[in-house]
Symmetry: C2
């Protein structure tokens, strides 16, 4: 078991005592950093950057060189699994991700296969190993995947940012087909995250970006159930170290009690819920990660410190809080404001520990 | 006081006994109806349709000719107020509404003025009178407005569907400027809705389409507060008849208790919350309107009936439920499925009354 120089994040995820509240930012390696944009320009495009372990390592490390973050997170895309399934991921300039062959025909759905991570996603595993080596046990490395429902949205719609008409029509008229997609995808995510853990990921996160568009009748059946299936198949230890996990349904504030009972170690929160209320509702079942409105980073260091203090105070004394944004950092964030966030969390949180 | 042939909606909004659960659909006069598309083609474009009282009356009546709906709703746009303030509303083909002159400069914000409904929005008042005349007391007519925060989003961003970066930057760095916009807009909405009531609207609804993007810290201060201000300035009676109101924050499920204390008669719900839970949380303070996932209308009459029954059963026995979708009806809805919805609500709800 390698000894981490800073394991604050892992302890907080397991609700163990820490000296301060650890902090990282979703999408912390990204377009708000000029050095990221330079590397990306060298790669040519986003997907080439994801698929090149040297460059993925380089951008993963960039925010850690600027800020005293408590974690690194693998630089990758949530859509690597459907890409490895053969759907043909591509990024049109100035638009989000798309698939050349979205899943619409029953025949295509029935012939979906589970990718072999070591063969079909070796570029991700190589990036994980290389990042771990480069990190040199400074802070833990977080691996991640999209949730089955979120992946299915892209797979069926063929792109993000839609009205979800295709997937919802499938959900209401051919639920068995959607369940088939979700099942194959959940098994794929288990293999994928376990391979990341074997390659060196020290914590894992499941991003359920679109679970919040489901009705309360459907969330449990079509999103949470498959995240539970993943959690029950995940390696919980590697080389003697516990591997904590986080699940995050954006817009899932109404369903926190259910999510907390999924078997996860920690639960991500967006900014629409008061973290005091969330803590009260989930009790001491899980750690909580969140939940600053990323738009606060468009303001000033002084305002950022005030807003950070509110969340720290609302969470209150004790263990089990990981500070983060309620969504990925915006590309329009001034890098000095991300610095203000991280420094505020570190300095202001000591009194709660 | 004119005697309505069917006043079920008004009684339900006031939590009085009814024989069945009344139903109407947000955006019921719209693109899913072929006859609407014909009228719109005659008008030339969407805005000309809104501004022509004859044609606005024609499309308002169309869904009532097809379906036994329990209400008509004024055909108009939520952005008529900022248009009357001089921001220059226009609709680019295939895109949402935009403003030629979004509010970015303090000077422009400070010089905002409250429109005079009888002068600057006379086309809306003429439409209301003409629709009332055409309705001939068959069912009540609902008037409406956007909420101040929702209008401010469009006014500051210049369009919908953005990342809300401009308005959130203003909120966090120049809150007094945003409050000024919200104040002027709230006063404008009071005058506008009162003029609609004087022209014949028998109930009014405030659409807070974007309140749900706010943090829990900000929702009360920047959205709910201004809806309360409107509610306290609204005419509650006209010609001896009570004029009930509904407020609807999409994505506001976490804040229902606060919304229920705003002084509203009824509260709109999207499909992410179980209506049984909502009823339990708000007690007998307000009526509830909702909350079918509009995507269910992409399925079949049989599935629609099953999903309608679930909501009716979850609401349970007693008064104070108005059936509706959790969001506007999609343009891709087969009209026969809207018929199935309305007939299911009428036939299946009798046993709960």
């Amino acid at each position: 078991m390698t000894k981490l120089k800073n394991d604050t994040l892992l302890r907080a995820l397991l609700r163990q005592p820490t000296e301060y509240t650890p902090v990282w930012m979703m999408r912390q390696a990204g377009r708000y950093l000029p050095e990221y944009n330079k590397t990306r320009a060298r790669a040519g495009d986003f997907l080439s950057l994801c698929k090149n372990p040297d460059l993925a390592t380089e951008v993963t490390m960039q925010p850690l060189e600027r800020y005293s973050l408590d974690a690194a997170i693998l630089f990758s895309d949530i859509l690597t699994i459907p890409d490895a399934m053969g759907l043909g991921l591509y990024f049109a300039e100035g638009e989000g991700p798309k698939f050349e062959r979205p899943l619409r025909e029953e025949r295509d759905i029935r012939s979906l296969t589970i990718p072999d991570p070591s063969r079909d996603l070796s570029y991700v595993m190589n990036a994980v190993s290389q990042i771990r080596k480069t990190l040199d046990n400074q802070v833990p490395l977080i691996g991640f995947s999209g949730s089955p429902f979120t992946l299915a949205c892209y797979m069926v719609e063929g792109r993000g940012g839609t009205d979800f008409r295709q997937i919802k029509t499938m959900l209401y008229t051919r639920p068995e087909l959607l369940h088939h997609i979700l099942n194959v995808t959940a098994q794929s995510v288990v293999n994928y995250l376990n391979a990341q853990i074997e390659s060196g990921a020290q914590a894992v996160m499941i991003f359920d970006t679109w679970g919040g568009i489901l009705s309360h009748y459907n969330y449990q059946e079509f999103s949470l159930q498959y995240m539970k299936q993943i959690l029950s198949g995940l390696r919980r230890e590697q080389n003697g170290a516990r591997i904590p996990n986080v699940i995050f349904t954006k817009g899932g504030g109404l369903w926190l009690e259910n999510i907390a009972e999924s078997g996860c170690d920690a639960l991500g929160l967006d900014w629409t819920i008061n973290i005091a209320e969330a803590r009260n509702r989930v009790g001491d079942k899980v750690a909580l990660q969140g939940n600053l409105d990323p738009a606060i980073l468009f303001s000033t260091p002084k305002i950022i410190a005030t807003e950070v203090e509110k969340i720290l105070k609302d969470y209150g004394n004790g263990n089990g809080h990981i500070f983060n944004l309620g969504h990925g950092i915006s590309q329009f964030t001034p890098p000095e404001n991300a610095l203000a966030l991280i420094e505020s969390v570190h300095s202001l949180s000591k009194k709660y520990h």
